[in-house]
């Protein structure tokens, strides 16, 4: 039992949690305004889209793959949907999400086809699809930023779960869109832990060949994974657009590295087979915390990227050192 407690306290998740706590105390010491509901609300809002992407990326990484196409897929989904809606005069939030999801799923299927059927390594396949999606957006849909979002869709950004007013009378509101990552996290947790599909995802990441021998349909599972990721890339893109109240064709490009870093920091091994929803939430939380609050510590803007980079390097080093330690530890 003692050992169990020790294992939990030294797990990857807890290490990230310690870093978050340490950093929070540091920021709180410099700026006491940090501790408060307002910080929590603004953090939640900043984490929102990244969390959707990160949970999906985690599932891909657990299965032993990687997906770097989701920002491009998210962009094309949101941009194509909004262009179509403006052109046809449709104004329905449900339609907006559904169309973005369908576009996402089709790109996900394309990824899965390249990976499973053409046997292209996931990194290369999704890199290619990323270029196709991004290039396609710019070539066929244009480069203009659109800010006249259809009314009903736009309204979504003004619906809040709750609003907090601080002593100074400033309002902090948590958008209803926050429910999306919450649902994604809970769904992913249940599927990964309590369904054979979820266990199959871990099994493939552990040993693809053994999974095949055991009787998993590896191709089917991979198709499900990449198509689901595509689906949520589309939904995530749409969410981002609503939050920003603006549709821009390239806005999410480049976010994939930060998302992968968050996932790996949360304890997922880049070689596959390991990872947890809780860890990923913490990983995203840490990166968002650093990105948003370094300014409170007086770190100049130019240094922030450097500091974010350092934290990623340190966090990931701890994760990989731990994996190495386990590999070298005495076997029972």
């Amino acid at each position: 039992m003692n050992n169990k407690i020790k294992n939990v306290l030294t797990s990857n998740e807890m290490i990230v949690a310690y870093i978050i706590i340490g950093l929070s105390i540091l920021i709180g010491c410099v700026n006491s305004a940090f501790f408060g509901v307002s910080t929590l609300v603004s953090l939640s809002r900043s984490m929102l889209v990244m969390l959707i992407f990160a949970v999906c990326e985690m599932v891909v990484i657990i299965s032993g793959g990687i997906d770097v196409s989701f920002p491009a897929v998210a962009c094309i989904s949101l941009y194509a949907t909004i262009r179509f809606m403006l052109a046809s005069g449709i104004d329905s939030p449900l339609f907006a999400f559904a169309m973005a999801a369908v576009i996402g799923i089709s790109f996900g299927a394309f990824n899965a086809f390249l990976i499973c059927k053409m046997k292209i390594p996931p990194l290369i396949a999704t890199l290619g699809v990323s270029s196709v999606a991004n290039g396609g957006t710019l070539a066929f849909l244009g480069t203009k930023e659109i800010s006249n979002i259809p009314e009903h869709v736009d309204k979504l950004s003004q619906i809040f779960i709750f609003t907090y007013t601080n002593a100074g009378g400033i309002k902090y509101s948590l958008t209803v869109l926050f429910l999306i990552p919450v649902i994604v996290c809970i769904g992913a947790y249940i599927i990964l832990k309590y369904t054979m599909l979820g266990r199959g995802i871990y099994a493939i990441g552990g040993d693809k060949n053994a999974a095949r021998i055991a009787g998993f349909n590896v191709t089917k599972i991979q198709f499900i994974i990449y198509m689901t990721v595509g689906c949520f890339a589309g939904i995530g893109g749409m969410t981002y657009m609503i939050l920003m109240r603006q549709a821009s064709p390239q806005v999410l490009m480049g976010s994939e590295m930060m998302v992968i870093a968050a996932v790996v920091m949360g304890g997922a091994r880049i070689t596959g087979g390991h990872g947890s929803v809780f860890g990923t939430i913490l990983g995203v939380g840490l990166i968002t915390l650093v990105q948003n609050n370094l300014i409170m510590l007086g770190v100049p803007t130019h240094f922030q990227t450097l500091v974010v980079g350092l934290i990623i390097v340190i966090g990931i080093s701890i994760t990989s050192l731990r994996a190495k330690k386990i590999a070298n530890s005495a076997k029972v």
Binding site: T195, M196, A203, G206, D207, A210, A214, G273
Partner: protein, 502 residues
């Protein structure tokens, strides 16, 4: 359950791949509760036969009967439903999942479950472990287990799927002697339950320890079949290889001409204060348990992980080995422990592999002389008795024995003064093993110093005249091989004898 009932019967099984006959009419009968060993050299058709039995391959011709019923077409799922379970060499377990989940997963998949029932998985795992007498924490990740325990997980997984025939593909390759004993106990338990067991193995000593029956395959045919008591060592080897192999014992001519002298060789945490002398004509064996420092001495002599202190004299001249480059400049060659990852470029041709250590010889005015490399490789293939059509195919296509011969040829092509071989015949069939020993004997005669690091004690006794035993990083004695037998050496190794003396 009736013990003498036949579980599986094969009649005239033939299997060909694109015109090449891998199986040329194999008959096999396996009874319930019988431990049946299947032996054969690499490429004899063992794996193909197992794949036919497990439904992975369709037999081209022949009949399969299971429990008396003729099976027209056997596919893998049917085979599992009929109770046929194969445990492959790599066990096909999931390192990232818990013991319980590994054991229960196949069954959950077989029953078409959609939900993961953790409680049931644990119960099944505990039950299966009880049945075979294994003790493992069901919640621990399999990556934390030793090889032997990973194998236990694979066996547990097989038996909860109601195995009636368990096929173990070379189950002892990675096990220590103690672990093999434990495995044998478990196999006997399963036998007592009426499960038929097929073990693929070609180590005679181990077969004697466990088998009821023995079938020997050669070139896709079964050449011998019978109770284990019908086979003695000579017949076994003859049936296995199809030729008479004389097990020679190497006894050198005495010489005082020194090739290698090592003094107070030390690397912290690996070995300490090791000294020995290798004279012309000597074959030095270094043995010891895993982790005793035996492999590390080889690594140090080749500069892979250099020693921190101590002196090395080659032909009575002191040399310093700080890197592999140093070792190679002094004409030291090293056949590493793990041929697949350290000794070969698997996806390169035989030619590329053969000239890899001596490539500079063929660099003429900045250009590689491909014609010469081809000729040299061809000569080595012939000289070293490797069965390969030409220097062109990937070295991956060679069997273990032939590939190992080419690793040795690679070093011989550098004209070494000293050749250190770490586990030279691991995973090598009996015929090639004897060939490799002959090659080593010829080399010694030609004046090359040979050091064999191995845990195969009979190999050391047959091929070395001096044997050094390593214990916890220290050399615990230099023995004359002529005065030793295998039992004595085993005792010395595990330290029993010494303890008695104290």
């Amino acid at each position: 359950m009736e013990m003498n009932e036949v579980f599986l019967k094969l009649e005239g099984i033939k299997k060909s791949f694109g015109g090449v006959e891998a199986l040329k009419g194999v008959d096999l009968e396996i009874k319930k509760g019988e431990i049946h060993c299947l032996a054969g050299e690499n490429g004899c058709g063992k794996s193909t036969l197992i794949k036919v039995i497990s439904g992975a391959h369709d037999a081209t011709e022949g009949n399969i009967y299971i429990e008396g019923k003729k099976i027209e077409h056997l596919n893998p799922i049917d085979a599992i439903r009929l109770g046929i379970q194969v445990i492959y060499q790599d066990f096909a377990v999931f390192p990232n999942l818990t013991v319980a989940e590994n054991i229960a997963m196949n069954r959950a998949l077989m029953t078409g479950a959609k939900k993961m029932d953790w409680k049931k998985a644990r119960e099944l795992a505990v039950m299966a472990m009880e049945q075979i007498g294994a003790h493992m924490n069901p919640d621990i990740l399999v990556e934390r287990l030793s090889v032997a325990n990973k194998q236990m997980v694979a066996i547990c997984r097989a038996i909860i799927n109601d195995a009636k025939l368990l096929i173990l593909d070379e189950p002892t390759t990675a096990l220590t002697a103690k672990e093999v004993d434990k495995l044998n106990i478990i196999i006997r338990r399963l036998k007592a339950k009426g499960i038929a067991i097929v073990i693929v193995n070609h180590k005679l000593d181990e077969i004697y320890g466990i088998a009821d029956k023995l079938t020997i395959l050669r070139n896709g045919e079964n050449v011998a079949n019978g109770g284990i008591e019908e086979f003695d060592r000579t017949r076994f080897i003859k049936d296995l290889t199809g030729r008479d192999i004389v097990e020679t014992t190497y006894r050198p001519e005495k010489s005082t001409e020194e090739i290698l002298r090592v003094e107070r060789f030390t690397r912290n945490g690996a070995f300490e204060d090791v000294s020995f002398v290798l004279n012309k004509g000597d074959v030095l064996g270094i043995t010891g348990l895993l982790g005793s420092g035996r492999s590390e001495i080889g690594d140090a002599l080749f500069g892979l992980a250099p020693a921190e202190s101590g002196k090395v004299f080659l032909n009575e001249k002191e040399i310093s080995i700080k890197s592999i480059e140093d070792a190679m400049n002094h004409k030291i060659g090293y056949v590493p422990e793990d041929r697949l990852t350290q000794g070969l470029f698997l996806d390169r041709s035989i030619q590329d592999n053969t000239v890899a250590a001596s490539i500079s010889k063929y660099l003429i005015k900045g250009k590689l002389d491909h014609a010469k490399m081809y000729e040299v490789t061809k000569e080595w293939i012939k000289k070293i008795g490797c069965i390969a059509p030409s220097p062109n195919p990937d070295i991956r296509t060679l069997s273990g024995g032939n590939a190992q011969k080419m690793v040795i040829a690679k070093w011989l092509n550098t004209e070494p003064k000293l050749l250190v071989l770490n586990g030279p015949t691991v995973g090598v069939d009996v015929g090639s093993k004897s060939d490799i020993h002959m090659i080593l004997h010829d080399l010694v005669k030609a004046g090359v110093g040979i050091i064999i690091i191995s845990d195969d004690l009979s190999e050391l006794i047959q091929n070395c005249n001096k044997i050094m035993i390593m214990k916890n990083g220290k050399a615990s004695g230099m023995l004359e091989a002529a005065t030793l037998n295998e039992t004595e050496l085993t005792h010395l190794l595990s330290g029993k004898k010494e303890d008695n003396n104290e």
